[in-house]
Amino acid sequence: MTPAEALRAAMPDAVEEASDAFVRVKAEKIVEAARVLREKCGAEMLHQISGVDRPPDKMEVVYHFARLKPAEFLCLKVSVPRSNPVVPTLAHEWASANWGERETLDLLGVTFSGHPHPYRILLPEDWEGHPLRKDYAYPVEYHGVDCVE
């Protein structure tokens, strides 16, 4: 069963867009959608969480799940408004989501509601801004060390 079919069957009102490549679901339904993928499509691994900044008003979070046999990647996408990007967390069910979501929070500023440790992971905690946003302003000085020559 492809993810599109499975999700349309299980939760028709949550699917916003579906194709062979990916399924876009409503942000608040992502936990259920991931569960459907695990149960119906055999997704055993949350392979990767990516955030994509789509200015001026959107932000995407892209989940790539991996099926072991036959090996395939299943893709879920979630769109959230750029002004208030909030997505429910998957960290309670998929341990790999814990760090993946923290990284997305760190670099893109997407908040994952219910995340056990919603803090920066790569950058220092007092870093300003989210670097992977398209309008990121490069820092001039950090703790007395100037960042530009």
């Binding site: 790539h64 998929w94 814990n98």
Partner: protein
């Protein structure tokens, strides 16, 4: 959640083991790293211990965050490639392949057969070198210094081979969109086969010195078992997953770059000693994978087709058309993948790199509970992380 010295520690899902409290003891908090001989770089691990027993640990990363993804978005396609090399500096060619494959898929670029074979040959040499380093480093963590040097001997020879083709010793910038930069000579092919023979001949030496050493077995067999479920939950890939008994190797499961042409096995744990998923099996897994890689190199050199080594359509100012792709490939430390989006501009719109070490090391917090400090070193050494791709 507990906060110690300004560091927030995970409680995690599994509680700390209950220890017999005969004597009133005090917990110690250790900062292991960023400068510590066995953190393999600038990983910082905060340990909460009861004497030698680790109650909880928290790996803190980001000390080597080098802004790879932002740079890929800021520079042109060809300019961005060297930065991917620097993600996993031990398996640099495999990192390049990770980015290039997904760009090629999104842009539907054809790669000449000879270039695909060359990629396979050089990536496998790189994998052998990387695994030799990892296995030796693990021995070093266990206190055996000499096997590391013996493995470095073969590693240096391999580096010389790569150096001859690519011009770099550690970072290569060899794989380009639609092909590779340089062709190999017949002389080089002979040298490469000779090197394969040399490595194969020395495998017994490594095994005698390290792998089947009685003390080494005592230190690693049954220590820090990462089972199938834990590995999958944390999306740990590569030798860790295979040592845990999951036969997932993208070279077999989702063949890329003509891997389907070659005949090789995917070694899966448990191996002849120990239990599935323990530190020894992860170490042995790497050594077995070296042997398989040598097989692939030999076959690829024997079957190397004639032709171009690069797609002539991909020029200096080449841009990918609009589109996106997610392709994963098997790097030495696990699955490297790139989620690539192009908007047709001169730079990728987004190139999200998956560093396998990032996911592999996230296991540490859960797996370390209840281990001795010596065992924790075994766990960290057998996971074998590179901070460059962990922090990117």
């Amino acid at each position: 959640m507990t906060t110690i010295q300004g560091v927030r520690l995970d409680e995690g899902e599994r509680a700390a083991p209950a220890l017999p409290r005969d004597i009133l003891t005090e917990e110690l908090v250790f900062n292991m790293g960023p400068q510590h001989p066995s953190t393999h770089g600038v990983l910082r691990v905060v340990l909460r211990t009861d004497g030698e027993v680790v109650l909880d640990s928290q790996p803190l990363i980001g000390n080597l965050h080098r802004c790879c993804e932002k740079i890929l978005e800021s520079l042109t396609y060809i300019q961005g490639l060297p930065y991917v090399d620097r993600m996993d500096y031990l398996g640099a060619l495999n990192m390049e392949l990770g980015l290039v494959l997904s760009v090629e898929k999104a842009a539907a670029v054809e790669v000449p057969k000879r270039a695909q074979y060359l990629r396979v040959i050089l990536c496998e040499i790189n994998r052998v070198i990387s695994h030799l380093f990892a296995a030796g480093q693990f021995g070093l963590d266990m206190g055996a210094f000499t096997p590391f040097l013996y493995m470095f001997r073969e590693r240096e020879e391999g580096l010389t081979l790569l150096n001859e083709v690519t011009g770099g010793r550690l970072l290569y910038h060899y794989i380009r969109y639609g092909g590779v930069t340089r062709d190999v000579s017949d002389d080089w092919k002979r040298k490469c086969i000779a090197w394969c023979d040399q490595v194969a001949a020395h495998m017994d030496e490594y095994n005698n010195l390290l792998t089947y050493n009685h003390i080494f077995l005592n230190r690693t067999v049954g220590v820090a078992i990462i089972d199938r479920e834990t590995a999958l939950r944390y999306a740990a890939t590569g030798p860790i997953l295979r040592a845990a008994g999951v036969p997932r190797d993208l070279r077999k499961d989702m063949p890329y770059s003509s891997y389907e042409d070659f005949d090789f096995k995917v070694p899966v744990g448990p191996h002849d000693k120990g239990v599935v998923g323990d530190s020894w099996n992860r170490h042995r897994q790497r050594l077995l994978e070296i042997e398989e890689s040598l097989k692939i190199i030999r076959q690829a050199i024997a079957k190397l087709p004639a032709g171009d080594v690069a797609n002539p359509k991909v020029t200096r100012g080449w841009k990918a058309p609009e589109g996106e792709a997610y392709v994963a490939s098997e790097a030495p430390r696990g699955e490297i993948s790139c989620y690539f989006i192009s908007d047709g501009g001169k730079a990728p719109y987004r190139a999200r790199m998956r560093g396998p070490s990032f996911y592999n090391i996230s296991l540490l917090s859960e797996m370390s509970r209840g281990l001795l400090i010596g065992d924790l070193i075994a766990l960290m050494g057998s996971i074998d992380i590179t901070l460059g791709e962990c922090d990117r």
